[in-house]
């Protein structure tokens, strides 16, 4: 029964990892930008949520109503300024610039906030409670909620990309941005919208992680970004549903590793990550290499 429980926990944690990963995957898919600051931006979302809750006393679950739009605006602005300026030079420059952004954010947080660990919604029943399916199998409310949020976000993104006018423009620009310009589309604006969506999902990921665990100024690069990368690579680069598949595989691998030996949790995840890179580099869901 311990194993069944481990796998269920792993699947649910996969939802959290999919939230980490989908914005990273979207930005890579649309503008070929590997955003090395993605995890730090999620942490920024977490810190903004802390601030919002401290000032307005809204419940943690409502904080996203303020944090997500703020992060979306930040995403649009950063894309139109710093990231676009890097893109105008070369794709490789974006790696340096987003790495720089990551360093700036972490040191900024250290300077202006503090180096303590923080978490969100400590006394909330969502964070502490769980459905008791049997004596051995418990489904924490939080993980079930986060998994549901991840599925809703992915469904919403898929619907937006396939049905809406802006979604169609995003796909057109991802295919061929010159041809899109000839149709009157300002691809820089479309990139900005894609970045706004990616940052919004990063904000959700940051709030979810703050409730799930604790975070400090380095959590973005040493945990969230790494798990996001692993989920994207396992699932398949540029595939939205691949991030959920990748997240689930990573989550299950980690939980199984933890069952074998608590200290093997992270190692097991990265072994699967490396195995996928070697055996199926296009990822589990990609149809072609």
């Amino acid at each position: 029964m311990d194993w069944v429980n481990a796998i269920i926990q792993g699947v649910l944690t996969g939802g959290l990892y999919a939230l980490f990963a989908c914005g990273l995957s979207l930005m890579f898919g649309v503008m070929k930008v590997v955003n090395l600051a993605h995890g730090d931006l999620a942490v920024v979302g977490g810190f903004i949520a802390l601030g919002v809750i401290a000032v307005t006393h809204v419940p943690v679950l409502a904080s996203f109503l303020i944090v997500v739009p703020l992060m979306a605006i930040l995403g649009y602005v950063l894309q139109r300024t710093v990231i676009q300026a890097a893109l105008n030079r070369s794709i490789l420059t974006t790696l340096l610039v987003t790495f720089g952004l990551s360093v700036v954010i972490e040191n900024g947080l250290l300077q202006f906030v503090n180096a303590d660990y923080h978490s969100l919604g400590v006394n909330n029943v969502i964070v502490s409670g769980s459905f008791n399916v049997s004596s051995q199998i418990q489904l924490p409310y939080l993980l079930v909620l986060v998994f549901a949020v991840a599925v809703v976000v992915l469904l919403g993104l898929q619907y937006f990309l396939s049905r809406s006018r802006y979604g169609r423009m995003i796909r057109a620009v991802a295919d061929d941005k010159e041809a899109a310009q000839l149709s009157g589309i300002d691809y820089r604006h479309v990139f900005g919208i894609a970045a706004a969506i990616a940052f919004a999902t990063a904000a959700l990921a940051g709030i979810a992680y703050g409730m799930y665990s604790t975070f400090d100024f380095t959590t973005g690069s040493d945990t969230i970004l790494l798990f996001a990368f692993a989920a994207v690579v396992i699932g398949g680069l540029g595939s939205l549903w691949g991030t959920l598949v990748g997240g689930i595989v990573l989550g299950v691998a980690q939980e199984i590793g933890a069952q074998i030996n608590t200290s093997d949790q992270l190692l097991a995840g990265y072994i699967v990550f490396l195995a996928v890179l070697v055996l199926r580099p296009q990822g589990l869901t990609a149809r072609r290499a």
């Binding site: 991802a174 010159e178 310009q181 009157g184 589309i185």
Partner: protein
């Protein structure tokens, strides 16, 4: 009325001078054909007019306004439509989605997706197919439709016949009168000289980035076109009169 005017346009690709002091004016209602061999600078000229390439010097005036420094998407919404070389469809989008993207910032006018389906009647039943699975001729038709739905005033068409079977090229050119009848002015780049002479009201020959001949098809002789196209000296070209594939085509 002069709709599009290019004056002293010089464009560099790095060190290479792709266009050297090219000037011409396109009147409303014309079919203006740019001809020339590979590397003559035809595509560079069209890409510069649409804004995808930046000129080193010279000006581009559209409808009386200087558009030389305008971004490509602003030129498109102002009424400069383009069917790019190699068609450049959006491969992950369906046929209809390609047309819808083309209509994203459409000007008001005759053309819409329904009218494109009337022009190319095979499109309606294949509207939900991805264009990557279509033949070259079909893709070219979609590329034309994508440009038309924006209701351009000037349609720039780059190498319509490239990579297509002659019969397919004929079929697409046969649609041209219907398109022009809606009040669109066309600036076409064509490697196939006989095709250009058949449809154009004005031809303009480029050789290594420089203008070598301009005129109406009635004004120019086959020998002149040949000399301008290949850059042969006058007496040399006389030796070849009537015996080259090109002059036979003319």
């Amino acid at each position: 009325m002069t709709l599009l005017e290019v004056r002293d346009l010089t464009v560099h690709h790095g060190q290479l001078k792709a266009l050297d002091q090219v000037s011409f004016a396109v009147q409303a209602g014309e079919v203006y054909a740019i001809i020339g061999a590979n590397g003559a600078g035809k595509s560079t000229l069209l890409r510069t007019i649409s804004g995808l390439n930046q000129p080193t010097s010279g000006t581009i005036t559209f409808d009386g306004k200087d558009v030389t420094r305008l971004r490509p998407e602003r030129r498109a919404t102002a009424g400069l439509g383009m069917v790019p070389e190699g068609r450049r469809l959006f491969p992950s989008l369906t046929l209809e989605e390609n047309l819808r993207v083309g209509a994203s910032y459409a000007r008001p006018g005759h053309w819409n997706i329904e009218r494109v389906y009337e022009l190319f009647d095979w499109m309606r039943e294949r509207r939900n197919q991805r264009t990557a699975q279509m033949s070259g001729g079909e893709q070219q038709a979609v590329a034309i439709g994508r440009a038309l739905v924006a209701n351009p005033r000037v349609l720039l068409v780059d190498e319509l016949s490239l990579g297509l079977a002659p019969v397919v090229v004929q079929r697409i050119y046969a649609m041209l009168p219907q398109i022009l009848a809606t009040g669109i002015t066309a600036l076409i780049v064509e490697q196939d000289v006989s095709q250009a002479l058949r449809v154009a009201t004005h031809i303009h020959c480029l050789l290594e980035g420089r203008t070598t001949l301009q005129g109406t098809p009635a004004d120019v002789t086959a020998a002149q076109v040949e000399a301008a196209y290949f850059g042969l000296a006058k007496q040399e070209s006389l030796l070849w009169t009537g015996s080259t594939p090109l002059s036979r085509a003319c």
